[in-house]
């Protein structure tokens, strides 16, 4: 009989009493936290001013939208999939939100005749639109057994067309949509009790996602379908339904992400969000959400997103050349995948 549970006292006293093998496993399993920690130490040694509340807040603020988006694609990655249409979906949500929330006195209004809407309306519209398209992705993938890379690539391209048509249909023609209302901008750049609003959004999303993934049938089915679709099927799980639900949830996060992103940037156009999918996927992978499916935690997504933000923010803070950041990021992504493979595949 195997007992995996230890009581807390044993766990603490046992922490330092590890064999070489156990230390190795510990290092592999916690590599990302060790790397993040090392990067922070490295930056602080070079620039002690990095250790400040302001920097901390900035990093959290810059991570927030990325984290919300990462949750969406993380669910799809857990299903052994991927989503290339994330960026365009976010762009669509951003353009919709921006077009519905311009100051009435702004000279180039998208909808000149429209009055003021409650904030929730543009958010809901963005969510519904993104969920709709993402749901189609899920349905196509599950129904026709098309590889998600291809299905979502098709969606990425088609969505850009649809988004551009909408973008060009506004009263002033195709030009960046700015002049947001203050209450909207405030959602992204304002603070409540000293905490940036956008961070609160990300924290709430994290809680909801954690609950859905770990405490509901939906979440358990998601891990099961991702870990072994055949097993899920013969156990009576509706694989099609689970897949579509995971994609719908992804669409919801894209809707929220796009809504906040337009507010954060202060403007939106049909190029907004371009390439975001790669950032989100990279963050998930680095955070241990495995492409082989069935594996991934909320904490992993958080760690992955934070790591990339810390690298780009920290390196800029130190005055390091942007181009080195790209090299470092690239190396980290591949190294993370190599580690991931080592963790889950049998050694031979």
């Amino acid at each position: 009989m195997i007992e995996t549970r230890k009581n807390p006292v044993q766990a603490v006293s046992g922490f330092f009493k590890k064999s070489r093998e156990e230390w190795k496993e510990f290092l592999v399993n916690n590599a990302i936290y060790i790397v993040i920690f090392s990067i922070i130490i490295f930056i602080i040694i070079n620039e002690p001013a990095f250790l400040s509340l302001r920097v901390f807040k900035n990093i959290l603020t810059q991570s927030s939208v990325r984290l919300i988006l990462a949750y969406g694609v993380a669910g799809i990655i857990i299903l052994q999939g991927t989503d290339l249409s994330l960026g365009r979906s976010v762009g669509f949500a951003a353009v919709i939100s921006a077009s519905l929330l311009q100051r009435p006195d702004y000279p180039a209004l998208f909808f000149p005749e429209m009055g003021q809407l409650p904030l929730i309306v543009p958010l809901l519209v963005a969510i519904v639109v993104c969920a709709f398209f993402s749901g189609i992705n899920g349905w196509v993938v599950a129904k026709f057994q098309i590889h998600p890379f291809l299905a979502t690539m098709g969606m990425m391209i088609a969505l850009y067309g649809i988004l551009s048509i909408y973008f060009a249909s506004g009263a002033p023609g195709p030009q960046p949509i700015g002049g947001h209302e203050m209450r909207y901008t405030n959602l992204a750049v304002g603070s409540t009790l000293g905490i940036p609003n956008i961070v609160i959004f990300a924290a709430l999303t994290s809680l909801v996602i954690w609950f859905l993934w770990n405490k509901t049938t939906f979440g358990k089915n998601m891990y099961a379908v991702g870990g072994n679709p055949e097993a899920a099927k013969v156990s009576g799980v509706n694989v099609l339904k689970t897949t579509v639900l995971v994609y719908l949830l992804a669409g919801v996060t894209y809707g929220i992400g796009g809504f906040l992103e337009a507010a954060r940037i202060g403007s939106a156009n049909n190029g907004t969000g371009f390439g975001y999918e790669l950032d989100a996927i990279a963050a998930c992978v680095v955070g241990g959400i495995s492409f082989s499916g069935g594996i991934g935690r909320v904490s992993g997504a958080i760690a992955g997103v934070l790591m990339f933000t810390i690298i780009s923010y920290g390196m800029t803070f130190m005055g390091m050349d942007m181009n080195f950041q790209y090299i470092l990021k690239g190396v980290i992504i591949v190294a993370a995948v190599a580690l991931d493979t080592k963790k889950y595949l049998k050694k031979s």
Binding site: I2, T216, V234, S235, G236, G294, K347
Partner: protein, 507 residues
Amino acid sequence: MQDQYVLQIKDVNKSFSGVQVLKNVCLNVRPGTVHALMGENGAGKSTLMKCLFGIYKQDSGEFHIQGGQFNFTDPKHALENGVSMVHQELNQVLKRTITDNIWLGRYPKRGVMVDEKKMYQDTRALFDRLNIHLDPHIRLDKLSVSQRQMVEIAKAVSYDAKVIVLDEPTSSLTSHEVELLFNIIRFLREEGVGIIYISHKMEEIFQIADEVTVLRDGQYIGTESIANLTMEKIVNMMVGRNLENRFPPKTNVPGEVHMEVKNLSTRYAPKVKDVSFQLRRGEILGVAGLVGAGRTEMVEALFGARTRISGEVLIDGKKINNANPHRAINNRFALLTEERRETGIYPVADITFNSTIANIQSYKNKLGVLQDRVMKDDTDLQIKNMRIKTPHRREKIRNLSGGNQQKVIIGRWLLTNPDVLLLDEPTRGIDVGAKYEIYQLIINLANSGKSVIMVSSEMPELLGITNRIMVMSNGRLAGIVETEKTTQAEIFNLSALYLNNTREAEV
């Protein structure tokens, strides 16, 4: 009359793209019995079970469960109505816990949340009932295959099933583990469950089954009580011809020492520890042992496919170094891997490709271009010599039966003109008739002066065709016995020789 059976299958027909694979098949299972369903590969056993379980839809025919007629449209429907199935390929989510796997598809809920506490307690109760000692919170990838098998059976039981289908449940179990499985099956039988037991292993059928139904080429051949049957009779029903003996005569005569292995050890678990032995020319040396004893690892190490930390290999007294499979092939070694589907065949490629791939270098002309003509001729020769049943050499290998696939793979290695053949479970998942042909092939090879090491989990075939048997236990060599003089009991005792507590914990 109907109530006499817990499950009645009547006149089921099923065809795939015009080929009829089930023709008026019937099966009647009494409650509280183990009903063996037998037949060669491709006889339609699995197809019939998949129709029953709602994975396939039959073209015509009826399924009655406890007198009521059902036509399951999906597995969930079948499970809810008392039919559960342990699939041959163990469909499990390895990265999740035992509880998550057992209650998959029907998680108990409290509000919107999954009721973890109830799941845990129910699992505990279920395990207590079946006398399984495992912590329900363990992740499945921490378990051995046999433990996973137990979990899967517990899951089947947890549906309160009236009918449980076990599709080749022992194909990866050792004899000791089979005994544990049989205890559970006997317990279920006493509870009145009807068990359909699919297996190729005759010994097991006579140990556990009450009745036997045989299918051949998708047709119902007959049902008999086990008391009225003999092994020969079942084989006759299965193959439709008389196989007097399950093993061809051993005509090979071992000569002088061909290969000598000294102190072979490997690095990664399951480890091989300090194994030394000699192999004679023209000899068939069997390798017996429990799952995890290091048998596969030993042959992989000889082939250079596994990291060695020590060991010398001498061929005809000369030291060689198989540092990697490429060098091993140059040293005229060949390895037939255990997992034919995973590491043996290229399923979507044709027979020509599958036959010539290991030897592809030799088909290059001076310009480095592959010579199609020679490749085709070699393939045709193998198809003819080994009597591979296929319409032509362009057929995709995945369309062949397991036995014919195995012949193609053996042919692939023969084209490299090997001297030392390492065969890892060469007859796994192959039906009786094809097995005989593979045995004959192995003996012929030994006869022609090649030396064979054959790893097998099937005691009868080790006793049937080898000259000597080396028994491994927990990575070490427990002993080498003369096949003529040994018994199953001796081999079994040897295979348990070096079992220590750590290994016990895994079993």
